[in-house]
Symmetry: C2
Subunit: 411 residues, 2 copies
Amino acid sequence: MADIKIGLIGAGTVGSGVVKIMAKQTTFFREQLGLPVSLARVADKDLEKLKTLPVGDAILSNDAADVINDPEINVVIELIGGYTFAKEVVLNALKKGKHVITVHFEAAVGGGMPSIKTIREAMIGNDVLSVYTIINGTCNYILTEMTEKGAAFDPTLKEAQRLGFAEANPALDIEGGDTGHKTAIIASLIYDGYCDYDKVPVRGITEITADDIISAKDLGYTIKLLGVIKRKEGEESVDVRVNPVMVHNDHILASVNGVFNAVLLEGDAVGPILLYGAGAGEMPTASAVVSDIIDVARNIKSGDTNRIPMHFYSLENELKIKGIEEIESRFYLRFLVDDKPGVLADIAEEFGDRNISIASVMHKEAHDGNDHVPVIITTDMAIEKDLRDAVAAIEAKAFTHGKTQIIHIED
Amino acid sequence: MADIKIGLIGAGTVGSGVVKIMAKQTTFFREQLGLPVSLARVADKDLEKLKTLPVGDAILSNDAADVINDPEINVVIELIGGYTFAKEVVLNALKKGKHVITVHFEAAVGGGMPSIKTIREAMIGNDVLSVYTIINGTCNYILTEMTEKGAAFDPTLKEAQRLGFAEANPALDIEGGDTGHKTAIIASLIYDGYCDYDKVPVRGITEITADDIISAKDLGYTIKLLGVIKRKEGEESVDVRVNPVMVHNDHILASVNGVFNAVLLEGDAVGPILLYGAGAGEMPTASAVVSDIIDVARNIKSGDTNRIPMHFYSLENELKIKGIEEIESRFYLRFLVDDKPGVLADIAEEFGDRNISIASVMHKEAHDGNDHVPVIITTDMAIEKDLRDAVAAIEAKAFTHGKTQIIHIED
């Protein structure tokens, strides 16, 4: 059969990785797998950089149009990044009838971990009951460091920036947005409807303190930033959110440390499946892009390029996302209160009035002449709205100081 | 397009699970995925049992030949188990031109975990550098219980049998054979050659004592039964083996507990990928079989049933498996020796003579009037043959008693 010619646009970090893998593996793909792929064109605005990469016989160019307009190119890989120009390139390539691979798709969620493939292929016989993701390496690195060193958030972030594990502007990571984007993609895929990111409740890790980390340890938990997706059988609305969660130390997610990522999928037939690996970086992400290239090449060779049809969700077919009046969870709470009689009874009453059952209480002694003491409470399963109402009522009392910490708990 | 008719032979544990998933998901497969699959025939020698399953419109039979000889059946699923009759069914179905799904394939290794799919598809752009498997639920359950309770092997096995986590005849599990079979399948797939199970060094968990578990804890390790596959770049021979390994507590495999399974794959591009899940059981294994059904149905629909060609290894194309003279590892050793001066120096000398570097020594005091004391040694990287020579030399000395424990270490 004719060569399957691949054109790569954008040779930044991930694009360079794709060039390197293709240089190493093309002979294997052609001779062992029988897939006549070849990297035929590479375009990047930095033509000098292209010349330093192992591009083989590929024609180099500093213009994306050279790739898109070449009628011999079957597959266009868009790895430019950003929105405007990348979108234009993707749309133009599709108009020309090319197959398009972009960091949407497999690479979009968890780098080299095959999360999309596992959902769409390996778990195809399952209703997915829940998904928990640890999918932002920066947040997981910071929380792991805080846990191991008992350090506060700010110096840990600074150190992470110094070491290159956090961006100079870390907002998208530490405020939970990146986790939210990826979690919304997974929710859309699983429940076959458009998950509007703007409606996903997102809370990052910036409010986690060294005290919370210590309390979690005392209770036998580890704090992780989780993307959560849950739907109860028979319910229409989906619990999709991003927030810090205390995960029990016996839970496999508590062992996912440092920059590593994980996706825990629960199917009704298969039970839990965890995928764990490097969620980002040049070669892991390039590995996912190359996996997509070979899937497309297999489809081209088989004559059916629509073997696993893509879903494009219309904005009307939108997932209904649960509000806090519907979200159920166990909770950890840390109040700062006056050290005087009756306080604990007053707190307990507010919970009791809302049918929230207290699982444990830790009321520490005052020391160092400080009149304000922490009261740490864990609850049984409760509706988040009821819980927040109780906290607001308690914060309105004169004995309470500062903002109460609220963290979800998963056993 | 015409219906893709599926015939199932064998409705034991896994077969029943497949019937249940097809009953629940066939509408989804047909209407959402556009794959016109239907479970058209089910055969099992126990016709009465079939009638208790949600078989829908499938024609029931107590004769496998009814399925194989039906010209309308496109795909035969063989879930009979055993060797002789199952092999006959598979060969006859292939002769009739049917697609065949059997517990070879995805379900063969780790139940519902997509280990085969990850190797053949997601990691296709990678050279696989190493694989570590925890792939026998019985062994992992026993070792986890021994670790958590400080219990000895025999009573833990008995309790596991009582609870249904170990067979009445547990030899295939606890002696490592099951782990060896699955590890050999993975090695064959990865290195594209026949891995002869009979040449794989296999050691199970029957010799692991409560003392070893305690020593591991003291050293910061956890004992796991691992299937190991490693090949150094440029080397022809492969280190394939099954043995108990002390895994560092920071290693993700140390957190894989109870009956859960895991496969840790290391690719040259993607780095480590861990898959974790239920390795056995009715529904997890059935989930893997259904994933294979849908892959085959997608291929039939696309018109190319050979999209990912199967490899059948000729016996001549055999992997060269490393002998102990080539295997390198760190080691844990527990000697039982007389409590008298000079013993430690004599032991150290045997290691020194063979250029084996000692990493740590724990020499416990005698107590309870017992003259024999344990000496626990960990080594740096050493050739296994040199290590065993040193142990043999030490065991030949009058001060040594009983059999020395030898366990591999992975950091």
